[in-house]
Subunit: 220 residues, 2 copies
């Protein structure tokens, strides 16, 4: 069976909303993430239920079925592979690729995506550090530690971002934080939670708590 771009967008949204926490997903939350009104979402939920991609009872919220999850992962696989392509081959910066990948993710057969995967050298992570499902849709999510969880003196590497909005990514660029950057926590200010860090042995700098809450690190 095959699905419209719109259906795919709903499925992907539900999947992402399910990532943290395992409560049922609400109509309003979905509406927010697909940029539509609740009324439209209700309509679509009926359709997706009909197609057995979600379980859904009126007023009770929604959750993906096994099959729905499979579809979601295959869309995410496409999305992230295209993102790698845009950055590695077309030389895009990581803050510009989301919208284009959003379009590309609805294009192409399974076969073509597997060929793309091969061409890219079977990358494990996308340009934001998010894991790419493999051809059998296995996705291994490395345990993620937020920068705010590190203590003074801890050293590590930047391995991902939680917020991958263009504004945040551009901010990271200007303060020289990139995927793979060495990072050391020099100080944490109690009163506002801001963090003094050293990136790649450059001069120390300070970032806000909000920023720190959106950076994933490995610790060594």
């Amino acid at each position: 069976m095959s699905f419209s771009s719109t259906e795919e967008n709903y499925i992907k949204a539900i999947f992402h909303l399910s990532e943290d926490g395992d409560e049922n997903i609400s109509t309003n939350d979905i509406a927010r993430s697909v940029n539509a009104k609740a009324a439209s979402v209700t309509d679509m939920l009926k359709k997706l239920k009909e197609k057995k991609l979600i379980t859904y009872e009126k007023y009770q919220g929604v959750r993906l079925t096994k099959e729905g999850e499979r579809i979601a992962k295959s869309i995410i696989r496409k999305h992230r592979l295209w993102e790698v392509f845009l950055v590695e081959k077309l030389d895009y910066s990581w803050d510009k690729i989301h919208d284009i990948a959003e379009q590309l993710e609805h294009v192409g057969s399974q076969e073509m995506i597997d060929k793309l995967d091969k061409f890219l050298g079977y990358p494990k992570l996308d340009p934001h550090g998010d894991p790419i499902p493999d051809a059998s849709l296995n996705i291994k999510s490395q345990k993620q530690t937020l920068l705010t969880e590190l203590s003074i003196g801890d050293k590590g590497k930047v391995v991902g971002v939680k917020d991958s909005s263009a504004k945040f990514l551009q901010y990271l660029d200007t303060v020289n934080i990139h995927l793979g950057s060495d990072i050391e926590v020099k100080d944490v200010f109690e009163f506002d939670g801001s963090v003094v860090i050293q990136i790649d042995r450059k001069p120390k700098s300070t970032i806000s708590k909000l920023a720190a809450q959106n950076i994933f690190c490995s610790v060594k």
Copy 2:
């Protein structure tokens, strides 16, 4: 201004139908090439006229405006660049790429296509030998000679195909005719127009008139 995939498909179809001959294009011809009924075409023609992409008077057929032509060329540029990508980077064969490129051609900004162009090394021709418009949408159509126009003894190279349907391309593959193949006309049978050729100094073979009418050659 931006256009829906459907609108783009109509514009592209009109452009291609205008390629040989400069009469106005008929509703039925368009219907055939976009796989829709004439009634749908009439609807769309009104819309495209409204947007000043075509000139159109009831019952008088249609023709692209300068702007319409510009759009058409930019779609063709996208289409052909993606085709090059599919063949050169993803290792597709030339008979499998049309449908995928058909989807990809509606994706991506001008900027991204220019980056793709750069990444591919500014190719001049697509995998079927058709010219790719450059970034300013200039398209130089090399004079095309059909294999049927060659005489016995003429030598040349295969530079393109007129029919680029999967069936024809697969046929060419099996008889070992590829873009760039050396070709020599050994004989022509008057009674049915079939042509005896030698490809890349392999053993002689015979192809039908219909086949020969769909192969473009350079002559030396």
